[in-house]
């Protein structure tokens, strides 16, 4: 059973950030993500469904951006308790 915590979806976070996909991909690599840029884009657009771990890496990549502009992790994680 997967549950998503309250907060923005990956797609909404991406839109509100104003980032380009190449920029998100670099941020994703920074937090130890390993998927290619096109695959990442497909996850954000909802064309592919990431597992919890992958979802949370993308959420963290987006939230690192929001931290830089003074916002506190607005993008939702999924089943965060179970990832630790």
């Amino acid at each position: 059973m997967t549950s998503t915590e309250p907060g923005m979806s990956l797609q909404d976070g991406m839109r509100l950030s104003g980032m380009s996909y190449p920029e998100l991909w670099l941020r994703h690599i920074s937090v130890s993500g390993t998927v290619g840029e096109l695959e990442l884009e497909a996850y954000v657009l909802g064309l592919l469904v990431p597992d919890n771990f992958q979802h949370n890496l993308i959420a963290q990549a987006l939230n690192e951006y929001f931290l830089e502009v003074g916002q506190d992790h607005p993008v939702a994680y999924r089943d965060a308790a179970s990832t630790g």
Binding site: P22, I29, S32, L38, E41, L48, Q60, L67, E68, A80
Partner: protein
């Protein structure tokens, strides 16, 4: 998103992302145009227009409707897909307002219940050869929202990569991706912190990453600051 669509998207983006992947490019191209159904609810057809020299053709299409509409443009001598391939730029078509711009195509589109289309140029990286991907919709403005545009753009890049192989395989002249080295340095820091947590807490890597994420959230701090502290000072109680 249907499971079958997800599997097809997964196969497509992974094959496109891995230049070494042994894959049937023609089959993947056919699959890609079928995936146009996920671009927008009112998407009813998709095709690829290729321009070699001064000759237009449609090497791949999702169904008869898309093929007919491409051919109607070739017959009329103009249309959004031809313009996109020729001019290397995006073309948007609305059957209600663009009759004067592309009369032959507009008539053929309306006859078949198509009210809008978009054509995106495909960067093939090959002189003398260009192409465009065309999406046909049964409603006006079928592709005008942000998500349809984003999905169409992703689909276009997948198709362009497939069509340009092997010409686009990496060469020694390729420029490195700006910022990639810095990103990898930061990833090494995260990996080091994960190693510390894995050794200290007998965790696997995803669980160690989960700890870093949880602490980043709890303290409203960058995960890189947390990772640096873990690497410098050990796991500590605060990492829990």
């Amino acid at each position: 998103m249907a499971v079958n669509s997800q599997l097809q998207w997964a196969r497509l983006v992974r094959a496109v992302s891995d230049p070494e992947a042994a894959a049937d490019s023609d089959a993947l191209l056919r699959q890609a145009v079928e995936l146009s159904r996920d671009v927008a609810p009112d998407a009813v057809g998709c095709s690829v227009t290729a321009l070699d020299g001064d000759r237009f053709s449609t090497p791949v299409y999702s169904g008869q409707l898309a093929l007919d509409l491409d051919r109607a443009q070739y017959q009329a001598g103009d249309g959004p897909c031809m313009a996109a391939a020729r001019e290397h730029r995006f073309h948007n078509f609305d059957a209600a307002t663009d009759v004067d711009r592309f009369p032959g195509f507009a008539e053929a589109a309306v006859e078949r219940g198509v009210r809008s289309s978009i054509s995106l140029p495909l960067p093939l990286g090959s002189p003398g050869r260009s192409a465009a991907i065309n999406l046909y919709g049964s409603s006006r403005y079928a592709f005008d929202a942000e998500r349809p545009r984003a999905v169409a753009d992703l689909l276009a890049r997948c198709v362009a990569t497939l069509m340009s192989r092997p010409a686009r395989l990496a060469t020694p002249d390729d420029q490195p991706v700006a910022g990639l080295e810095a990103a990898r340095h930061r990833a090494w820091l995260i990996a080091e912190a994960e190693d510390v947590l894995m050794a200290d807490r007998s965790l696997d890597r995803p669980a160690a990453m989960g700890l870093l994420i949880r602490r980043s959230r709890a303290e409203n701090r960058s995960i890189f600051e947390i990772a640096r502290e873990v690497v410098d000072n050990g796991a500590g109680e605060a990492a829990l």
